[in-house]
């Protein structure tokens, strides 16, 4: 679930508020969006993909973490879904290289069409 909106990184563009499919964020009075409805987060990571400055961290757990996460502990992985799908300047779109193993793979088979 969404755990962190980094106040240091955020530029206040509200993109995450706009694009969240389950409307988890509210606009914050200080410019930084707030996580207003964490329970509605479906852990789809799409806010990480769309945040232009990697200010968000979605934890892999589908339930809220029992203790508040410290940004310093996960700093290097903020916005890592954006990197994983190759979005952002100077990156190759992940779709361009998405060639996976074949659907019904047996050891020794040659690689087949991509699995997405």
């Amino acid at each position: 679930m969404i755990e962190i909106v980094s106040a240091e990184r955020c530029i206040g563009c509200d993109r995450c508020v706009d694009i969240c499919p389950t409307d988890v964020f509210d606009r914050g009075s200080g410019g930084v969006p707030v996580i207003a409805r964490q329970a509605d987060c479906q852990t789809c990571f799409l806010c990480e993909a769309w945040c232009p400055v990697d200010a968000l961290f979605v934890a892999p757990e589908r339930d809220p973490l029992p203790e508040r996460l410290d940004e310093a502990d996960v700093g290097g992985t903020l916005g890592s879904y954006r990197e994983a799908i190759g979005w952002g300047h100077g990156r190759t779109p992940g779709a361009r290289i998405a060639v996976g193993p074949p659907l019904r793979h047996e050891p020794g088979d040659r690689p087949g069409p991509p699995l997405v």
Binding site: P21, T22, D40, C44, P60, T77, H105, P111
Partner: protein, 533 residues
């Protein structure tokens, strides 16, 4: 916060009073419908509960497509295979049309700039058979807006508008990021592309899919079909939400004590039977190391959660669980017997997971591939037909929403409690994946009073209109699916009845469902007769 503040302007949403075609839902089906309608010269509005571009199952995941070249006999063979696997409930004519339309549409995506990968087997060519969700839906949003479609985000539709003759003439809803301000749009035709119903199970990207469109359609008298084929479950890590099943073909499974289970690959339903008996663990140790990087490229969001957890799924065991995907990856939905995916109600069309997919996948899951092809083709057909629909003179428009929207009694329940009660009857494998007549009747005995409760009214929720409607839609879906399941005393495709384990050739027919307060299940004509006619 540092640096420039580029705070976007927060204007009220501009919603047209009237359009030729109104599309509800901004996933693949909705965007293809909007593009097709706009290509006919229609004025089009597309309204989404979430945000067109991230909303729905496809955006969060992706699709391998049912993508078969026209050369040779490949298409005939693909259709034959699916007909058999789907329990002989498909429509070969629509299957052929869907394969053809998908082929063309994917080439349109390539021309529009989708960055398809190189084809390893054909130097210089691109492989066009699969789509990554974020990239696909970002492009679809761009294409829709370029085509002049008015896109209205974060604005769930709550009800259809009907005229005195029973035709659909628009829809209404709320802007959930603007204090739930109401919107209403009159339309010559409406395309429902709101997705299936996954009962807020947390299946990847599916929590927007609460069956709202089918509820709205049923309220104006539309029929549903295939609702018994609604119990598809995905496999996810126990800790997370990624119901992406394909990587599990490389899995071996074991119990907590390390005892290996004799289950091969993706392993359904044997894996699910094992899960009923106790916790199951998986490890992707059947993938040779040289495949690992390709697997990561092909499904980055399968591996991202493991990376963040610090778990190496190729070497370490992790708990797995089954997550209900309902009619999103099941096949039931609004019946679309008419040309261009017309429903049984004039002016109302349905596409994508909101519509029944029995035509192309019968009673088995459409997975990503067939459902992805269906979203493209049904969306395109529905958009074209809706644009060509000639409504009769527009009469008075009456809002058709009832349960969860217009209470008729004293509110006597809370949204959260209703959702939890429905989930307690539909999420467990032992109740829904593995069914018996007795368990189905027991569930309906819980669900029927729940429906009356929702009709009477629910206590005010955080999101007036949206929450209570979602609750109503989920109760309606649970009752439709179990009523249909009870009316199919056999096992066929994904519908498994412990008390009727065999497939009964005399039941090679579809089941249509209609009604909300009183649910009627009607057996269709046997398929051979339908296909021959």
């Amino acid at each position: 916060m540092t640096g420039r503040v580029r705070r976007s302007a927060r204007r009220p949403v501009a919603v047209p009073a009237r359009v030729d075609v109104l599309v509800l839902g901004g996933g693949p089906a909705g965007t293809w419908a909007a593009l097709a309608a706009a290509a006919e010269g229609a004025s089009v509005a597309l309204v989404d509960k979430g945000w067109c571009g991230t909303s729905g199952a496809a955006a969060a995941g992706g699709n391998n497509l049912w993508f078969v070249p026209p050369e040779g006999e490949a298409r005939e063979r693909a259709i034959e295979t699916r007909t058999r696997e789907g329990g002989f409930l498909t429509d070969p004519r629509r299957m052929a049309a869907a394969v053809a339309r998908t082929w063309d549409a994917v080439h349109e995506l390539a021309a529009a700039g989708y960055p398809f990968p190189d084809d390893e087997h054909r130097p210089g060519e691109r492989y066009l058979g699969s789509l990554q969700g974020p990239e696909y839906m970002r492009l679809q949003r761009r294409r829709v807006r370029r085509a002049g479609v008015v896109v209205v985000d974060q604005s769930p539709a709550t009800e259809l508008l009907g005229d005195d003759d029973g035709a659909v003439v628009g829809a209404a809803g709320v802007h959930r990021q603007h204090g739930n301000a109401p919107w209403s749009i009159g339309a010559g035709a409406v395309v429902v592309a709101t997705g299936g119903c996954a009962f807020l199970s947390g299946a990847l990207g599916c929590n927007v899919d609460t069956g709202d469109g089918a509820l709205m359609a049923a309220e104006v008298g539309a029929e549903l079909s295939g609702m018994e084929f609604s119990n598809q479950y995905g496999t996810a890590p126990a800790f997370g939400a990624e119901t992406k099943g394909l990587m599990y073909q490389f899995a071996t499974y074991s119990r907590a004590d390390g005892t290996e289970l004799d289950i091969g690959g993706m392993g359904r339903p044997a894996l699910q039977r094992a899960m009923v008996e106790g916790p199951v663990y998986a490890r992707l140790d059947r993938a040779e190391p040289e495949l690992h990087q390709k697997m990561r490229w092909s499904q980055p969001n399968f591996f991202l959660p493991f990376d963040k957890m610090g778990v190496d799924p190729f070497r370490e065991r992790f708990g797995v669980r089954a997550v209900l995907e309902g009619t999103v990856r099941g096949t039931g939905g609004i019946a679309v017997p008419g040309e261009g995916c017309a429903t049984t109600v004039p002016g109302l069309f349905a596409a994508g997971d909101a519509a029944s997919r029995e035509d192309i996948t019968g009673g088995i899951t459409g997975g990503g591939s067939h459902n992805g092809a269906w979203a493209i083709s049904s969306g395109s057909w529905a958009g074209t037909a809706a644009a060509r629909h000639r409504p009769r003179a527009a009469g008075r428009a009456t809002p058709a929403g009832r349960a969860g929207l217009r209470p008729v009694g004293r509110p006597r329940g809370r949204y959260d409690d209703v959702v939890a009660a429905v989930q307690s009857r539909v999420l467990p494998l032992e109740l829904n994946r593995f069914r018996t007549g007795a368990s189905l009747r027991e569930s309906l005995a819980v669900l029927d009073p729940l429906w009356e409760q929702v009709v009477d009214g629910l206590a005010p929720a955080d999101r007036p209109g949206t929450h209570s409607r979602q609750a109503a839609a989920m109760v309606a879906h649970a009752r439709w699916m179990y009523s249909a399941a009870l009316a199919r005393p056999e096992s066929r495709a994904m519908h498994l009845r412990g008390d009727h384990p065999d497939t009964d050739p005399a039941q090679t027919h579809r089941l249509r469902v209609r009604g909300l307060d009183d649910i009627a299940v009607i057996a269709d004509r046997p398929r051979e007769a339908v296909i021959a006619s």
